[in-house]
């Protein structure tokens, strides 16, 4: 079989592991604000997608192209995908890509993939770590008219086909599909490996390829905020009243026993 060509879609997002208390919304602009010490990262689910591609490459070789869409992408963040073993990084980077929704993101990514042209497998995270929509992978597959399997926890190449373990509510199902295909990946696949020093050095020397909307044959009016199909009316943080009653005790064990008494008094048990 000729060299397998893989594409992984990765999104730069505000760090989802940032503590909830530092997370603020500016309701005037409907935008999220985070303190400067919270650095952007590659979305956690996209990292699993990257790991899925690397596992295939470990066994069968092949080439991994990473696609990332946004504006002012931080090189140290997106180049992590090269440091762990990606071969090529293409950034769809332009002001026009700002404030994309699932539709405008999908459209731009699908057009970029058409421009890449030659591919066997596309990997996406099951959902982004910011808007949590979970539409991009399936949308790309619809536009490219290729089959898609969601929520993969294991992906293998077998006799020129892909065998996927897909998570379902009471277990998993094993699904087989021909190439090309799109796979969305979930957390059980496993965390993204750490970059080796050699990988970091290789990545440092590589420059990402930058594509503007016109490079992928689309007008700025079809991408970003202008290409949205859903409008964001409001962004807000639900109000939370802090009301936890902390049960004390001389020792932790006594506090545990006191908790039982309290739950009884409150008629919870």
């Amino acid at each position: 079989m000729p060299e397998i060509k893989m594409i992984v879609c990765c999104k730069q997002v505000p760090d989802p592991e940032a503590p909830p208390v530092v997370f603020k919304v500016d309701s005037a602009t409907n935008k999220v604000t985070l303190p400067p010490d919270v650095k952007p990262v590659i979305g956690q689910y996209d990292e699993f997608a990257m790991e899925a591609a690397l596992k295939i490459k470990d066994k069968a070789g092949g080439k991994i192209t990473i696609l990332s869409l946004g504006n002012k992408l931080i090189r140290d963040v997106v180049k992590k995908t090269l440091a762990v073993g990606g071969d090529e990084l293409i950034l769809l980077e332009d002001e026009a890509f700002e404030e994309s929704d699932s539709w405008s993101t999908v459209y731009a990514l699908a057009m970029a993939i058409k421009k890449i042209g030659d591919y066997d497998l596309i990997f996406c995270g099951r959902q982004s770590s910011d808007w949590d929509a979970g539409q991009v992978g399936l949308g790309i597959a619809e536009i490219l008219e290729i089959p898609a399997i969601t929520l993969a926890r294991k992906v293998e190449l077998v006799d020129g086909k892909v065998k996927v373990e897909r998570v379902i509510p009471d277990g998993y199902e094993v699904i087989e599909v021909g190439l090309p295909a799109l796979i969305t990946v979930t957390s059980e696949l496993g965390s993204l490996r750490y970059a080796a020093l050699k990988g970091i050095m290789v990545a440092a020397k590589k420059q990402p390829i930058i594509w503007k909307p016109t490079d992928i044959g689309i007008e700025p009016s079809q991408v970003g905020a202008a290409g949205r199909r859903v409008k964001l009316a409001e962004l807000f943080q639900p109000v939370k009243e802090a009301k936890c009653e902390v049960i004390e005790g001389e020792t932790s064990a006594e506090a545990g026993a006191n908790l039982a008494i309290k739950l009884r008094e409150a008629k919870i048990i």
Binding site: D101, D132, G134, I175, V177, L235, F236
Partner: protein, 333 residues
Amino acid sequence: MAEYKGVTVYGELINGKLPSITTELLGCGRNLADDLKEDLSCLLLGDTVGETPKEAIAFGADKVYTVEDPSLKEYQADTYIQVAEKLAKETSPRIILMGQTSIGRDLASRLAFRLGTGLSTDCVDLSIDPETKLLRQTKPVYGGNAQAIFTCDIMPQMVTIRAKAMSPIDRDDSRKGEIIPTKVEIDLSQVRTKVIEKVKEEVTGVKLEDAPVIISGGRGIGGPEPFKTTLKELADVLHGAVGASRPPADNGWVPEAQHIGLTGKIVAPDIYIAIAISGASQHIAGCSGSKNIIAINKDPEANIFREAKFGVVGRYEEVVPALTKKVRELLAE
């Protein structure tokens, strides 16, 4: 151009019955249809739909479209999408409601892109804007750290709804409705994927989604054993089930079926005891509907205490056995 009218629920069938998510969708759809003064329809598909159309009417549907075909026995994207697309195009609903379930999250995006419309997934609140008549679609974003309200002026307006976020209406078997058997020719040449096997990972004891009490453990539990001993003992005393946040599931300490959170199970028990769980937003998304959240954590600053009604600050290894012992005594009285 077609006139878009009415609300359609894409129902699901589990073992020949309507699961709670479908009755929740019908309850929500009924309210929206009443606000619009339009009809509520429901699509039910499978190899056979049995008595479920009558059930759907009892839970609020005015019309039920049924599609029966041997190829629809199990969910497969490439067969179900053919039915979903055809029905949407022929009936042109103003609003399509689906569950944020294994099937719904796989099918809804495909359908939205085929219909060329927008979609909001995992909604927790829906209402009709009195002026524009558009659907206001509220969904948690940023892992639950914020909520967004979306609107879409392309028809049909499509959403998926989080389990337990909506309430069914009371079942009324005297409600009248129309059952419309519908034939859809399913083109099997368009089925590109092949399911080779299904593997069940059984969880013993009370099913998590139905349990009135859940004892849940997090990263701080430290390994698989305490889930089977310390947590299990407390669960047994309270006739509850054992759950977990994402790290124990990802580390293989518990099966994925026990994972509660944004990307796992959504639960809403009477009592939710979160043990050694920090309370990341992704986890809270799965348990915030619980009536009483109780937190046990050694870190007094843990976010879980912002969600809890009662809490104990301390090492779970000491707190939980004493709690279990005292609960056993109190319940025996």
